[in-house]
């Protein structure tokens, strides 16, 4: 708690924090030191685009911060609910700073702020003592919650355009318009991969990634599992699904069970074929590698989110000669899958799989909407390139700050 020690020096009141820790004998020493000038024009204003509870404080730094006496070492931020105080310390800022965010304000409560310049005063034979010279109180400030995040208007417009395009093409597809979807080799090969395992009398391993059900890649992987399970049920192949998450295990069981039911083979479904190994990344990789080396499956699917284990798994599968189909939206792991697997669904192809495999018009429509989004982005990139090039040539600068109107990148920055 800040305790005020008043000593009139050169006509300026001085505050010392923690007076009780300052020996009384040192008081004269403190009083002989000229205090720094206080910060000026302290203002508090509601932090924009938040749920309330936050006030941005700004000030003009002390004349002795980086100039004058150059004695300011920091600023203390003080807050009160009345302009006359009492003011409590709520934080600090380094010398040279001119802003601070009060993140513990209560919404709609009136607050007054003071910013105190802190200078360290040497004492006779002891530690330097901090001297605090506070500013005048700021005008009243309130924290408010906003109903719209103004910094995300561009994202809202993009979402509306993309969703409209997707919904438009879904409607078109529903009305019977035929939509061309290019072939995705990895998905075309599903039947071949399952058939190969059946012919060889060996197992199929399906790895739905290492992440949980809150990851959209896991959902995409499980969607493809439904198709693979149906083909496996048709062919009477032995499908095994080792998983790294309990919730994924439960979901995979439902999906596989339903697929066997749809294939007219509910008797062939065995719950224990979908089993949990461990949540641990490398424990999971070790577990699967062990299974692969012992069982030597004919086919392996990797569909979902993967990290460093991607190459460990796929190289082990490759070493036993398994046919491998992978799909992930983790850009860093894609090269490893491309190098080690026979087919790889790259990024968006993983998400397109369910629509591609089901051939359901409304799902195919969403793919076309996605393509429309891509076309819009492509046109925007081209416009950006042309404008930036014109700006750079006409203004003779490459500095984005100086390009002004010609630099459209800030329009697309989302806060």
């Amino acid at each position: 708690m800040a305790v005020v020690l008043l000593a009139t020096v050169i006509g300026t009141p001085i505050l010392a924090v923690g007076q009780s820790e300052v020996p009384a004998a040192l008081a004269p020493t403190i009083a002989q030191v000229p205090p720094p000038h206080p910060p000026r024009d302290v203002r508090g204003s509601d932090s924009p685009n938040d749920a309330g509870g936050s006030i941005a404080i700004t000030w003009i730094k002390s004349l002795d911060d980086g100039a004058g006496l150059n004695s300011v070492t920091a600023y203390k931020i003080l807050r009160a609910t009345s302009p006359t105080g009492p003011f409590d310390t709520i934080g600090a800022a380094a010398a040279g700073q001119t802003s601070f965010t009060d993140a513990v304000a209560r919404t709609s409560t009136p607050y007054y702020y003071e910013v105190a310049a802190v200078a360290l005063v040497p004492t006779l034979g002891g530690e330097p003592v901090p001297l605090l010279v506070p500013s005048d109180p700021s005008p009243v400030a309130h924290a408010k919650a906003q109903w719209f995040h103004a910094g995300r208007l561009n994202a809202l417009i993009a979402v509306i355009i993309l969703c409209s395009a997707i919904l438009y093409f879904i409607t078109q597809a529903k009305s019977g318009r035929s939509l061309f979807i290019r072939k995705i080799a990895g998905l075309e090969a599903v039947d071949e991969a399952v058939g190969r395992a059946t012919e060889m009398g060996k197992k199929i391993f399906y790895i739905p990634g290492t992440q949980d059900m809150d990851e959209v890649q896991t959902l995409a992987g499980i969607t493809i599992l439904g198709r693979v399970a149906k083909v496996a049920a048709d062919y009477e192949a032995d499908l095994q699904v080792p998983v790294a998450r309990s919730l994924v295990m439960v979901t995979c069981r439902e999906v596989v069970k339903e697929a066997y039911l749809n294939a007219g083979r509910p008797d062939a479904y065995k719950e224990d074929k979908i089993f949990y190994l461990t949540d641990d990344q490398f424990g999971y990789a070790a577990g699967i590698d062990g299974l692969v080396m012992r069982d030597k499956p004919a086919t392996m699917f990797y569909m979902g989110a993967f990290y460093a284990e991607a190459l460990i798994l796929s190289e082990t599968g490759n070493s036993i000669g398994a046919m491998q189909i992978a799909g992930t939206a983790m850009p860093a792991q894609l090269p490893f899958f491309v190098a080690a697997c026979d087919y790889t669904l790259i990024g968006e192809e993983l998400f397109a799989a369910s629509a591609y495999l089901s051939k359901e018009p409304k799902l195919l429509g969403s793919l076309k909407g996605q393509d429309a989004g891509k076309a819009i982005i492509l046109v925007t990139i081209l416009i950006g390139i042309i404008l930036t090039s014109i700006g750079a040539l006409s203004l003779q600068t490459n500095d984005p700050e100086k390009l002004g109107f010609y630099n459209i990148a800030p329009w697309f920055e989302v806060q």
Binding site: A51, V216, Y276, F282
Partner: protein, 218 residues
Amino acid sequence: MRREIPTFIAFFVGIVCIIQFFIPHRPFGTLVDTFSDWFSIVQAFAIWLGALNLIKISMQKSLARKARDRWYGFVVVLAFLLIVIVGFFFSGGRQFQLVGTRFDYLYVNIYTPLASTMFALLAFFVASASYRAFRARSWEATLLLLAAFLVMLGRVPVGDQLTHWLREGFRLSDIASWIMTYPQVAGQRAIMIGIALGVASASLRLILGLERSYLGGE
């Protein structure tokens, strides 16, 4: 109702998550945190499902005399019981994760080296995968080989030593940096844009209930 209720939950949560991105005001901002908490709670309970399943499957393997990998099942069950018993009963209760406890001893001296070993395998797998990927079987593969050769050589001191006589901007390190800054970033961004659109489209399908195969159906 088996499908309708989960579809409605997915719709409601999905819409709220989108809305909170644009509306920070209560209750939207806090609802997402609440949903995350619920997910964590469900996840915590589900761990038991996984643990029990692991024990069950491993025990089945261990007890099946003809199973080739029955001993692995034994090891899994024993390791599981060891770490659980030591963690619960011999590591100071809630303080079991502190340095110096028996649980910590097992973690540092058994688990960590095993995990590090698996991670270290990557070094060998990267070599074998690179060997296959960089074979000049086609025009594209040759281009990849060339780019990889320049980048690898440009990232080590000997690359610059070999080309120190060239003008700055034409040395191997400069070429490596150019490849990584322009063609590599351009390619990666193209994939990222595709992924972002794919995620948006897939999410919309899930939220609107068009895509319900994860609930167990077509």
